[in-house]
Amino acid sequence: MATNNQGSRAAREAAAAARAAAKSEQKNRERKIQIIGGAAVLLVVAVLVAIGVHAASKNAGGVDSKAALPAGVTSDTYGVKVGSAWSATNADSIPKLELWEDFQCPACKNLEDSSGAVISGLSKAGKLRVEYRPTIFLDANLQGENTSNGNPDSSLESTMAFGCAVDSGKAAQFHTIVFANQPAEGKGYSFNTLSGFAQSAGISGTELTKFNDCLSSKKYNGWVQNSYAKFNAAGITSTPTGILNGKTVDNNVLYDPKALTKAIQAATK
């Protein structure tokens, strides 16, 4: 039982020392592997951060400050302001309606079909400052369908065309015609279709040549991207979104011409 002799005690001690040595070696080994793993993680993180920062700076607010802007468009919003109310002496007291739309968005067409007449009517009468704020987020969603229909990036193309029509002084007309003739979602707009819209909007002769050159040279690509960046920065995720004097209009009101008229009247100071 407890009758240990010297020999077995020494053997036990030696074994314990060997175990301790093995254990410490094991610890070292484990630490080494953890350091390698940790270093690899840091490396991967550094690479991802570099890629992220590079990509983010490429569309940093998306803004290309040198982008050409259609007539009357300013870099604070990149929106297209239509109607005489903007230049009225009491412009600040006239309600302002910002409309975020994508030319490929069927719900935007529905809005134009229901409330479009009221909006353009009030705008023409100088009682409403309308600002069209273009976005092109559907290009990503519809990429496959657009491409297979031969009209890739149709939101971008149609919005660039809108910019060209602004230069011809036909912003409101072109806007109305695009939505009135919007094809089934995904079919997209070809160059000829958009050029046809321009003619229907009353652009002809040298103005039409200018429009076609403007569209085929993608003159307003930068402007459209800048407006799209504003859309994202504002955190808006669907279209149409109507903003009356800075407040988002409930869709039940926006789509209802009577309720919308009332809301606009109420917003008139």
Binding site: Q26, G37, V41, N232, T237
Partner: protein
């Protein structure tokens, strides 16, 4: 059942499946480009829009790092724990948009943003069940992190931990 769960090869399958899921989801979002990821995040209306540009890269970036760690088998326990927490957060996000009545694409594997109401409940249910499965896989790995063919095994040749399984 417990024996099956503890089986180191079951653990290997959990680890590699989670790795593939995380790398696919993180990679799709990280390299999507443009504003897609930001829009997906904004659609939840959980964080202020000003956070979206950061989160749009940070969330998928974290997923990629976790996916790589699980793929090679390094820091498995802590990576699985973070994965479980992250996935639980995603589930909470989906439940929150569901409760608030929004209809969005979760943007889990890229895409995202608002979508039509059609099939909304089924879609959310599927997404939540799928994420619950991922949480389950991750918890399995938190409890028994040792799996074959893991890089971290190189530092653990001896079976000093009582729960460790023989590893070839």
């Amino acid at each position: 059942m417990k024996g099956f769960l503890r089986n180191p090869y079951a653990g290997l399958i959990c680890r590699l499946s989670l790795a593939v899921v995380l790398l696919a989801a993180g990679g799709a979002k990280f390299f999507e480009g443009g504003f897609a990821a930001q829009r997906a995040i904004n659609a939840y209306k959980v964080f202020p829009p000003s956070w979206a540009p950061f989160l749009g890269y940070a969330l998928p970036g974290v997923e990629i790092v976790l996916g790589l760690l699980l793929l090679v088998g390094m820091f498995v326990r802590i990576s699985s724990l973070i994965t479980a927490v992250l996935m639980t957060g995603f589930i909470a996000g989906i439940i929150s948009v569901w409760v608030r009545g929004y209809s969005i694409d979760c943007g889990c594997f890229g895409g995202g943003g608002e979508v039509s109401e059609a099939g909304k409940n089924l879609r959310y249910s599927k997404e939540i069940l799928r994420d619950l499965l991922f949480v389950g896989l991750a918890i399995r790995l938190v409890v028994w992190p040792r799996t074959p063919f893991a890089f971290e095994n190189l530092g653990k040749v001896s079976d000093d931990s009582p729960e460790s399984e023989p590893v070839e």
